[in-house]
Amino acid sequence: MVWLPTLIKGCYFVAALLFILGLKRMSSPRTARGGIVWAGFGMLLAVLATFFLPDMHNLDLIIAAVVIGVGTAWWTGRRVAMTAMPQMVALYNGMGGGAAAAIGAVELISYVRNLLLLHPPGIPDTSPLRPESWAINALQPIPAAVPLSPVELALGVLGALIGAVSFSGSLIAFAKLQGWLDRRFVFPGQRVVNLLLLAVAVVVGIALASGYASVPLIALFFALALLFGLMMTLPIGGADMPVVISLYNAFTGLAVAFEGFVLGNEAMIIAGTVVGAAGTLLTQLMAKAMNRSIGNVLFGSFGAAGGEAQAIAGAQKPIDDADAAVMMAYAERVVIVPGYGMAVAQAQHKVWEFAQLLLKRGVKVKFAIHPVAGRMPGHMNVLLAEAGVPYDLIADMDEINPEFAVTDVALVIGANDVVNPLAKTDPASPIYGMPILDVSNAKHVIVVKRGKGTGFAGIENALFYADNTRMLYGDGQAAAGQLVNALKTLDD
């Protein structure tokens, strides 16, 4: 079967093409849905082709692992609520990083084993005692007993490092978003410790890449890399998680590309590099939306900014649902500002129902979405789309900010840091400089909030104490339900 290697290579080529075309289609709302299907076909093709590679052993193990992995992920991915999507992306991304690290580990371990075979202690190199596995097959990416070239070894180690960091880091991001780890973990000198960890990991990596490989050293290398990912992510606050997840997504892409080079698999190189570049750009866009550099997000230990925070004068003034409903029913323009709280409470359907009642009364309703509202850019758009809110009612920050001055009521549901005026007025505030939605310019502001606590970033919000702000305490879903009922009784 001479044509088989060509056919397999062809499958990889088509897969890479489908990935790029799929991503391209995903970047426009009209064709987005088809995009993932294209990419999906590419993946299926590549995976199927891999089974026919020459010299593949352990097929039973491979099939078992694929079936278990696909089955579990498919099941969890289908079942999970839309609101939990960000952490699921983090989780699946971490798995990819872990897989890249595992590839690196297997390559390194077999490299050590082959070194021992090639230069067995006591047997000269010229010995005719050569292992049978020396036969080099045309398509076999890593001929079993031919040692990796220095470049392959270096990229393999680098990919493993990046993959392992992405793995443990993404799992922490997942745990944080899932609410399993709601405290930031900070101690004095953390940055130094982290940098030291990374430095040691890199030194060990260089040792591995320059031929001093041994199994204990490999184990140490991975332990350091995993620990670094863990330590690097623990001090980062939840508000920065979108940027972090996006960064780890790019990391995993790079790790995959590097391991693809080691394995001689072009589809992996192309797909991984495309994701690495796209993910890096996406990370930059997100960090820019928060007015922070990526380095600042990673090493700035959010919330530890110097200086005294401004004291906030005044008190939070409550309002009840009936008054709030009346206020909006007779308003001319209402802007609804959703945030993560709406996602947590699954309130998007109720909120849309409320907005529809207002629209029916002739009130001009718009939804204002901050670039980093929720836990990922576009998170709120996804949720509102799920509830059926049409595109043209959704405005982004630059579009809506001038309109707040002519807005009668701004209804803030579960958003906090993205509407905090301290970002403009208090240089000591950790979110100082972040562009915000200027809701305080509206005539009245109603904030739906579960309690009096601070937001995810742990910062007091001056908006809640402003003279034109009224607080409607309650879970987003319940509060929206009450508003709907209050409006309905108005109509009766």
Binding site: A65, M85, G96, V106, P141, M268, V274
Partner: protein, 101 residues
């Protein structure tokens, strides 16, 4: 094995491709696109399969097995999540078309 410079060219071109794809994307698609690119690097599954396919000792096989497991999770999970997100965009489209001015 791939020639070093050929690989470098592939890296370069693929990096530009990735950059270009993202450069003009509306904010609403950022999350689905991040999820979509998360799916695309699920190609790591292929690499993990190759690694496990060449593993010879039980130790290598164990790590390879974990790698395939994780890679399969990345690919399948990434697909499902992305598809679910994009599905909602489709269902809301006709409504958006009708109610627009």
């Amino acid at each position: 094995m791939i020639d070093g410079f050929l690989a470098l060219y592939i890296f370069m071109l693929a990096a530009f491709t990735g950059y270009e794809i993202i450069a003009r994307v509306p904010v609403i698609l950022h999350t689905p696109l991040m999820s979509g690119s998360n799916f695309v690097h699920g190609i790591v599954l292929v690499g993990a399969m190759i690694a496990l396919g060449q593993a010879q000792t039980p130790f290598e096989m164990t790590i390879g097995f974990i790698g395939v497991l994780l890679g399969a999770g990345n690919a399948a999970g990434g697909y499902v999540v992305t598809e679910r997100m994009l599905e909602m965009f489709k269902s809301s489209k006709p409504a958006g078309g009708k109610e627009s001015k």
